[in-house]
Each structure stands twice: as structure tokens, then as C-alpha cells.
Symmetry: C2
Subunit: 345 residues, 2 copies
DNA sequence: TTGTACGCGTTATCAC
DNA sequence: GTGATAACGCGTACAA
């Protein structure tokens, strides 16, 4: 047999494998992908050898069409360089790997319009699930997003939102209120009486819940909230807020509660850059417990959120058929006191 | 007309749109996807209206098969929770968005066998390009990886490796040697005479290059390397190495060069936990300039690597047909001296 | 057990 | 300009 015909130009196809092994397409398909094993040993071996020889890998796109379902989960985060989302994505990726799924990721940059665009684009993949890590479910821009999400879940896709979900959406809740309340109470118990909160814009649920919880816990312990400053969830927003607070005058002994560790770290830098001392002079606390908070000195007092686990749960929710929100034990939050909030003498 | 037939179960298909608009499949396709515009206005409007009404989004899998090429770029990183890879991924994502591509991501966990598995799985998507951010091109496990990569590039896929590339692979180089040499020289100029290096395992190119460069720069400036400790690229590896060094005795005035900022930060924590002082007692320097290094005190002296830009370039290399490595200006590295390495009196 | 043939959603090559 | 229709790579009744 003369080998005159050119080798397949693209990747090897199932057809190539079948021909190489001298069996039919169906048989090759059964041994390489189909689950029910009812192929003779000899054929099976030949097919596997051929596949190996040709470096065959099933074309997932073709499988997706033929099967009517893909092996993809889409993840939408605000900023993958932010350690918060990084850890979260880590958990999602681990879960996906265990489930044999592929993760596609997109970055919203905290732009609602962009987010709608991205959801629309991701929908094109017909992913099994779509995990949204930082979305607003309220506000003017939320309508467009909701429409896209409805279109997606209306055709059988699972939408998972971290934080507050909307209807028709699975949501992985976090007891932001409770955790912040615990933190507030703890700080009050340490002797703090005055607190300032550096938060995100009003209407952002996570931020609002943490504010409310902290306020309740702190005032319940005898402290009082001296002000709330609005910014964003970034380090730079925290830094700017810190500068403003300092400019307006910040009494020694005040504790600044940053809505997230990233924000709190920004605040800390501003304080230090202004020549003030963290802890003994102005105390700082955050929320999330990202890795950095452990490595800075003084260490950042915070509420530990099992982010990696959170991501894992989100993935699970996205791919489990009969997922029951109520059945999932709420993730435990834990206040971690470090040097940034020493006991007030 | 009685609306007795059930609405399409899955997502709306091009067929649905065509029927709704009362045109042929071909026309609908031309309007919604095909580029060459030669469809009458009236038809065009009707198709667009129908698509809008039905919430139609092209099935990317189907497009991929029909077109013979996908709109996917795959990214492989060691650990997405690591800020180094997070920033890198950020650049990749930005570039992909600009190019209208979708990014799928997978985590190797620094396990070579796992990496081979993942590349194989990712190949199934027939991505345009595959970006590997932390791979060994040498060593016992490298053969399997090379085979997969060859299979991929052999069928027209672009492989981009950060760091040293192999043949048939596009690589985005970084002047690790030069940057480290600059750093070493700078430290020597600051008055340091003794250095210890905390590196990764031998054979890992990035690590080896940084060691060599640092050694050259530091000894060239009159200093001497007192030891090299092997670990990994993680914070914990740095911490452990730091503990060991301290246990063996570390003279005041020594500078510890961590092979990456993450490692260096681990070392710093170990030093502080042992009650020693950073900077005045034991100095520490790193490499990469991750965000954390700026927020800790004292700030971490390091070599700035434009990670986000690096990711962007990798994406570009992965999707550009006539990409020329030589044409890309090497990314500029810059030594940044902070408080962790004060001038030696 | 194995093979044939059709369908999945889309693009592209044709005629009209 | 527009509309059939044959691919694309695969899964899977159905028939053999």
C-alpha cells in the first residue's frame, strides 16, 4: 500500500483513528468516549493503539454539539489579580478539575456594561454553569444583566452568584452581617470606642451587609461609628480614603474598619505614609483574610473567609443537578485578631 | 396561526432565528456572523429583530467546527491564587478580550504529570494558542509534556512559553539574569558583602538564571555568596528556608535574596517571627515586584517585572500569525530599592 | 458485538 | 442578493 496521501492536516479525527485501526467510526467512538463497554478486546486494543499513535484527542466542540451539552463552566470575576478573586478562582478550578470540566474565565473590571457583554459572549459556549463572583443584582445596570442571566438559565444553564442571588439563581451566601458583627463586638471588647468604616458604594450588598453587621456588633459593645467613607473594593480606594480621613483628623485610638482586606491594606499604607503608627496609634481591621494580611506587620485583624472553599462550593452548585442551597452548611467565618488592633489599654 | 408547538427547549438556534425572520439559514448567518455585508436592509433588520427577540447567541462550538478554528486561548499556570500568576493572567485576559477571544484556564499545581494531563485535556478544545506560564522544559518529566506540545503545534496550534522556550515554541523571555545582576550590583553598592540565596530546585531555569545573575552582580561588586538554599516558589518554602537559615545562624548585615517576591516575603516572616529585624539586622530582597511588596513594612527591595504586560505579550504571541520574537522589545526590568535593604553604614 | 446513517448548529460553496 | 446543500467531528438510534 503506497503511502501517497498526505497526513491529515489538522488534528487527528475520530475518523482517522477508525481508519487506522480498521474499524468503524462507531466502534472507535465507543472505545474512546462512550461509556458502556461492549467492544471486543482485540478491537479495543487496536483502537487505543491507533489513537495513541495519532495523538488523538476528542474534539470537545464536536462532542458538545453532538451531545447537546458542553464540559465547560464559565467564571466571571472583577479582577483576577486581586488575591480575593484569585483564591476564589483557585477553588473553582479545583472543583472543575475534579468534575472533569474546563473553566473559562472573564474579567469584568467592575464595569456592569462590560459584564453584560461578557455574559453574552460566554453564553455562546453553552457552558453548564456560569459563576458570577462580583455582581450587583440591583441598580440601574442590573436589568441588562438579569436579562442575559435569565436567557441563560432559561435554556438550562446554571447561574451561581456569590453573595445575594436573585430568583432563578443559585447563590452561595456568606454571613457577611454575622461575621462583621462578631468583628465589631470583638473590637469593642478589646476596648475600642470609636470606629470609622471605609466601604464601597451604597447599594453594594456585600458592603452594606458588612457595614450593618459591624455597626451592630460594635455599638452593641459600647462603641460608636464616627463615620462611613465610600470608595471601592480596591487597595487604591482604601489608600485614598485613608488619606482623606487623616486629612480631616483621626484621633488616636480610633479603629478603621476596611470593608475588605485589600481596602484595609490600602488604608494601612496611607496611615504609615502619613507617619502615623498602625495599632498603637490608629488601629485597622479588614475582612476576608487574604494571605497578605498575615505577612504584613503588624498583622491585619480580620474575618477569615474560606475563599478557596467558597469557590469550590460555587463550582459544585454550578454542576449539581439537584443542588439544595439549604442543604449546604454555611461556611464558617472566624474573627482573627492580629497586631493591627492591639488591646486598648 | 395556533401556537401549539413547544418553544425551543435549548437555546435559540440560527434555524429558529431564520424561521422567525422568514429568511433562509444562509441569510441569517450572513447577517449575524459573516463579515461581507451584502444583505438587503429589510432582511437585515428582520433578522436582527428576530435574534434580539429570541435572545440568540451563536453556538461557538458549532462555529468552531464549521470554521475549523476556535476562538479560544488556553492558559496554564501553576497557581492562580499566587499574585504572580494572577497579574500575568490579568494581562492575558485583557489581550484576549481585545482580540475577541475566550480564555480557558487550568492549574498545574506545579505537578508535571498533572500538567501533561491538562495540556492534553485543553488540546481537546482546539484552542488557537496555549500559554504555559510555569513549565520545565528539561528534566525527566519534560518529555511527556514536549510530546503533547508537539502534537498541538504540529496541528497548527501556537504554543507560547514564558521563560525559556523549546524549539517550535514561541517564548516570551525575561532577562532574569540581567535583572538579578543589576539587583546584586545595587546591593553590593549599598554596602552589603554577604548574601544568601533562597532559590527553587536546581534545573528550574528561571531560578538558575536569577541565581547566576545575582551572583555575578553581587560578587562583581565585591560581595560574596555565602550559601544557596533550595526550596520552591511558594511563600511557605521561603518561610521554611528562612527558619533553617536562622537556626544555622545568620549574621547581622547579611542580605537574603529570595528567588521571587513570594519567597522573599516568606523569608521575611520567618525572620520576624524569630524576633530579628528586617533591614537593619537582616536584609531581604526579592524579584517580580508583586503588589504586596509595596504594602509591607519595610517595603521589599526587588526587581520590577511588568507581569501584566508580560501576559499581554504572551497572548499576542499566541494569536499573531507572523509573530517575531526578535521584533518584540524585551520587557524592561528595573531594580526597586525599598526599606528591606537599607544602605549599610 | 459491529457498522450504517442521521442529526447536532454553523459556515461556505454553489446555483438561482 | 438569496437560498439550498454539503461539509465540519462526533454521538447514537437503528439495523445487520
Amino acid at each position: 500500500m503506497s503511502e501517497t496521501y498526505a497526513p491529515p492536516r489538522g488534528a487527528a479525527t475520530l475518523h482517522d483513528v477508525a481508519r487506522e485501526a480498521g474499524v468503524s467510526l462507531a466502534t472507535a467512538s465507543r472505545v474512546l468516549n462512550g461509556s458502556t463497554r461492549k467492544v471486543a478486546e482485540s478491537y479495543r486494543d487496536r483502537v487505543e493503539a491507533a489513537a495513541e499513535k495519532l495523538g488523538y484527542t476528542a474534539n470537545l466542540s464536536a462532542q458538545a454539539i453532538a451531545r447537546g451539552t458542553s464540559a465547560i463552566v464559565a467564571l466571571l470575576v472583577a479582577d483576577i489579580a486581586d488575591p480575593y478573586f484569585g483564591q476564589l478562582a483557585s477553588g473553582v478550578a479545583r472543583g472543575a478539575d475534579e468534575a472533569g470540566l474546563i473553566v473559562t474565565i472573564a474579567i469584568t473590571e467592575r464595569d456592569p456594561q462590560r459584564e453584560v457583554r461578557l455574559v453574552r459572549a460566554l453564553r455562546g459556549q453553552r457552558p453548564r454553569g456560569l459563576i458570577l463572583a462580583a455582581s450587583r443584582t440591583e441598580g440601574p445596570d442590573a436589568a441588562g444583566l438579569k436579562a442575559e442571566l435569565d436567557a441563560f438559565s432559561g435554556t438550562g444553564g446554571r447561574v451561581v452568584m456569590l453573595g445575594t442571588g436573585a430568583d432563578g439563581v443559585r447563590s452561595i451566601g456568606l454571613d457577611n452581617h454575622g461575621g462583621a458583627a462578631q468583628l465589631g463586638a470583638e473590637l469593642a471588647a478589646l476596648g475600642y470606642r470609636d470606629a470609622v468604616i471605609v466601604a464601597a458604594a451604597e447599594g453594594i450588598r456585600t458592603s452594606d451587609d458588612r457595614i450593618a453587621g459591624f455597626t451592630q456588633g460594635f455599638t452593641g459593645g459600647g462603641g460608636s461609628i464616627r463615620g462611613i467613607r465610600r470608595g471601592g473594593f480596591t487597595r487604591d480606594a482604601g489608600y485614598a480614603a485613608g488619606q482623606e480621613l487623616l486629612a480631616e483628623g483621626l484621633d488616636a485610638g480610633t479603629v478603621v474598619f476596611g470593608i475588605s482586606d485589600v481596602v484595609a491594606i490600602g488604608v494601612m499604607s496611607a496611615i504609615r505614609d502619613a507617619g502615623r503608627e498602625i495599632g498603637t496609634d490608629i488601629a485597622v481591621a479588614g475582612f476576608d483574610d487574604i494571605a497578605t494580611g498575615r505577612d504584613i506587620r503588624p498583622g491585619l485583624t480580620t474575618v477569615r473567609v474560606p475563599l478557596e472553599e467558597l469557590g469550590f462550593q460555587a463550582l459544585t452548585a454550578a454542576v449539581t443537578a439537584d443542588w439544595d442551597a439549604a442543604a449546604e452548611p454555611p461556611l464558617p467565618l472566624e474573627v482573627i485578631v492580629r497586631g493591627s488592633t492591639p488591646p486598648r489599654a
